[in-house]
Every structure is written in C-alpha cells, then in structure tokens.
Subunit: 229 residues, 2 copies
DNA sequence: CTCCAAGGTAACAGATTTGTAACAGGGGTC
DNA sequence: GACCCCTGTTACAAATCTGTTACCTTGGAG
C-alpha cells in the first residue's frame, strides 16, 4: 500500500485521454494503474489499494458516480481521495459530484498543470502513513490509525518495518507471501535489498509477537515464503 | 472565533453580489461579516478571526490574491480556508490561485448551490471539533472557545501553534498524524516549512504539558509521525 | 543416516530518525 | 527605540532501526 511513489488509479474509457494522463502522471512521479470501466475499477481499488483515484464521470457500465459512492461507502477504501473528471459543466452535477463524496472535481477540458496541482493537494491532505481500520487475527490486533499492535491485550512494540510486515500479513491472513512479494510491499518497489533480509525481519517480528509467550503465529513455508496463521 | 455558527468573511466590492451572497450565506446558517476592499478585509481577518474567507479576485486597492497571500503567510491566520471568486476563467489563474494558497477557486458565474457545497467541504476539512465544546483527554482539557488549556486543573500556557497542534491531536486521540498532515492542518496548506519544524513544536508542546510533572501524553511513532496517547 | 540447501538468528557497523538547545528574525507593545 | 514573545532553522547528540554477514539448526531427499 504505497511505500514511496503514490499509486494513482486512473479510470477512463477513452484510450487517448488515458495515455495522456498516464504519461503525465508517470512523469510527475506516480505509479499508475488503469481501468477502462467501472467493474475493473472496483476490483482494482480493492486489489491495489491506490492512494488516489482519478475517475471519469461517464463510463461504460457502472458510472463514475456509482464507483465513487461505493469506494466512499466502504470502510477500507473510504479514505482514498477521489477526483472526478467530467465533460459536463452542468452545475447540478458539480454539486452532486462533491456531495457524493468526491474530494475534488474538474471539468474537461482542464489543464494537466491544474490537475497535478489538485492531485498534490489531495495526496498531501489524505495520505496517512498506514491506512485502514483495525485488523485482527487470533489474539493479535493491529490498528492502522493509531499504529498500535497488541496481543491478548498486551501492547507490542514494533519497528516500522516489522509493523508494515505484520500489516501485510494481516491484510490477508493465511496467504503465503514470497520474499520477493514482501520486499515489494513492505520495502517498496525497486529497492535493492537482499532477500535474506526478509528472514531477519520475520525473525524480529516473531520475537516481538512471542515476547509474552504464546504460539508463533507466523508460518514458514519452506521453499516459498511466509504466511500468517 | 466561531462559537456555534461558522463566521464567513465576505470580501466583495460589488454591492449587488455582496447582498446576494450575504443573504444566501445567512440562510445557510452562517454568520457573515463583510469587507468591500482589501484593507478592510485584512483588518477584519485579524479582528474577527473568521472560519472561512470568500475572496473576490478583483478588488479596489489590495488585490484578492495579495490578501490571500497575506492571510496564508501569517501563522495566526494561515489555517483559515480561503475560497477565491473570480471572473477570470483563465486556467493559469486558477492554478496560480491555488498555488498562492487559496483552498478552492470558483469562476463566475457560479451557482450559489455550488458555492455552498464548496464552503461545506472546506469547513468540514478545517473546522475541528474544538469549536464550542471543550475537548478532553486524560487529565488534559482544551477549550476551543476560550483558548484555554489545563492539565489536572492547572492552567497550561501555550503559543498559538502549540495550541492548534494540541487541538488537532485532541480531535482524534490516538490517531497518528504524519508531519505533512500536521503541517497541513496546523500551519495551513502550501506553507513552505521544514518538516523538522513539526518536531520542534511537538517538543515545545511536550515541555509545556509536562511542566508540572505527569507523563508525556504525546507519542512518537518512529518513521511516521506523532499521536496523542 | 548423511548431506545439503533452506531457514533462524546473534552480532555488528552503519544509517536514519528524533530530541533539543541555541540562534536569528519578525511583529507587536510600550 | 528597547523589549518581549513566538517562529523556523540549524546543528549536534542520542536513540533506534537496518541490512549484512557468519554461523547454527532444521528438514527431507536419497
């Protein structure tokens, strides 16, 4: 969930627009993932957990406004800022756009410069360190908002890396993550770090979680990676 | 400084516009104070401490953009959201407007309905729950109305920045705020201030809160930011 | 059982991040 | 003007976290 470069989900059905925006977003330093229709968009929001969503108003299938409503009504994603893009300059729509929960609204044609300014503003405002509500697994609780972790009620102190590692595990308990995947998610895209480093940090996480007794909740999958539970 | 009904400062030189807006703002439940030129506006900002400023771009005397810059460059007022109103639809101006520090920008003619929506958005963002009621956390009490803070009954003297910092923290005890978020909320947006400055002020806040003993209520979340409790 | 690759982990040498005192400048007040 | 309070920045020390390495243990194929 975003380590260095913010991830922008671009939802736009027109190929030309999409390319222009992608190009510009990239050169501003964002990672971009794209969807051309509402259904893909909704899936991608959940899968990628973007830091910001650029949403075309008019879309084939599920409309932009509907996507926005869904994103905002779901706890896990409600915090993600949404910027609506629309050809309509109709004022009712502008108002509705904002009231649906969009965080900003731009009418086409808009300058790329302005869009980038708005994106920066939104990211600066909303982007917390780690997002999400409290995750639970067994007797372990991790709260992304307060950055607190406890096991059986007792507080657990974790370093930043261990915290991110545990959050990743807890996001999908049981799922097996390869070392490469963990490096990607926890350390960030394109960071040169030895895969054995993952082992060391998993070890540190284990030690922290078991300091007051209790079974080791982290499972080693030999030849593959690690998983929680 | 805002008891119950948010106070909007309306800066507009054209009498007709002014009346229309005032009427509408009133009926939406805002208190309105007005200025017809830049000089009056600047005085009123300091005197009344409005919760939001509606600023016409073109003004006799000091220009809207200049007022905005002054409001935003002054720490005591930087956090007040400014919405610019302008006849110019020039996109460069929009961008410049936002980059000068305005929080939003509307091009005339705009619908009153839209303006109200934007105002709500801005107020929702900036306006802490501190207005009116006192906030409490542990033995710390912060009264947004009288601007007084006490710990265990003993009064605590805080500078303006520390006060806003503490009220941000107290708005959501436990929540971790990144330095950028704090800069945004406490200092105001688009203020170029080093993130380390946040550390210094947190330090000052800590010292003030602990001067009569008691545990440090501010928690450092390494690699992320700070939180209360 | 033997052997080897895979995984666990202590230790260490940096590298980062944070706490804080000191300082200089801006504004306001008298 | 002299004074005072508040700010933002800086520099340095202290605290804490990191990645790597080296050396062990483990698992399981044969």
């Amino acid at each position: 969930m975003s380590a260095e470069r913010p991830l922008v989900l671009l939802v736009e059905d027109e190929p030309a627009q999409r390319e222009i925006l992608r190009y510009n977003l990239r050169s501003e330093g964002y990672d971009v993932s794209m969807a051309e229709n509402g259904d893909d968009a909704i899936v991608l929001v959940d899968e990628m957990g973007p830091d910001l969503i650029l949403l075309d108003w008019m879309l084939p299938g599920v409309s932009g406004i509907e996507i926005c409503r869904r994103v905002k009504s779901k706890r896990a994603t409600a915090h993600i800022p949404v910027i609506m893009l629309s050809a309509r300059s109709d004022e009712m729509d502008r108002v509705r756009g904002l009231e649906t929960g969009a965080d900003d609204y731009l009418t086409k044609p808009f300058s790329v410069q302005e869009l980038m300014a708005r994106i920066r503003t939104q990211l600066r405002r909303t982007r917390p360190a780690t997002v999400g509500q409290a995750l639970e697994f067994d007797d372990i609780v991790l709260d992304g908002e307060t950055h607190r972790v406890s096991r059986g009620g007792a507080p657990i102190k974790l370093g930043p890396t261990e915290f991110r590692l545990l959050s990743t595990f807890m996001e999908k308990p049981g799922r097996v993550w390869s070392r490469e995947q963990l490096l990607d998610r926890v350390w960030g895209r394109d960071v040169y770090v030895d895969t054995r480093t993952v082992d060391v940090h998993v070890g540190r996480l284990r030690k922290a979680l078991c300091q007051h007794g209790g079974a080791d909740p982290v499972r080693t999958v030999r030849g593959t990676g690690y998983a929680l539970g």
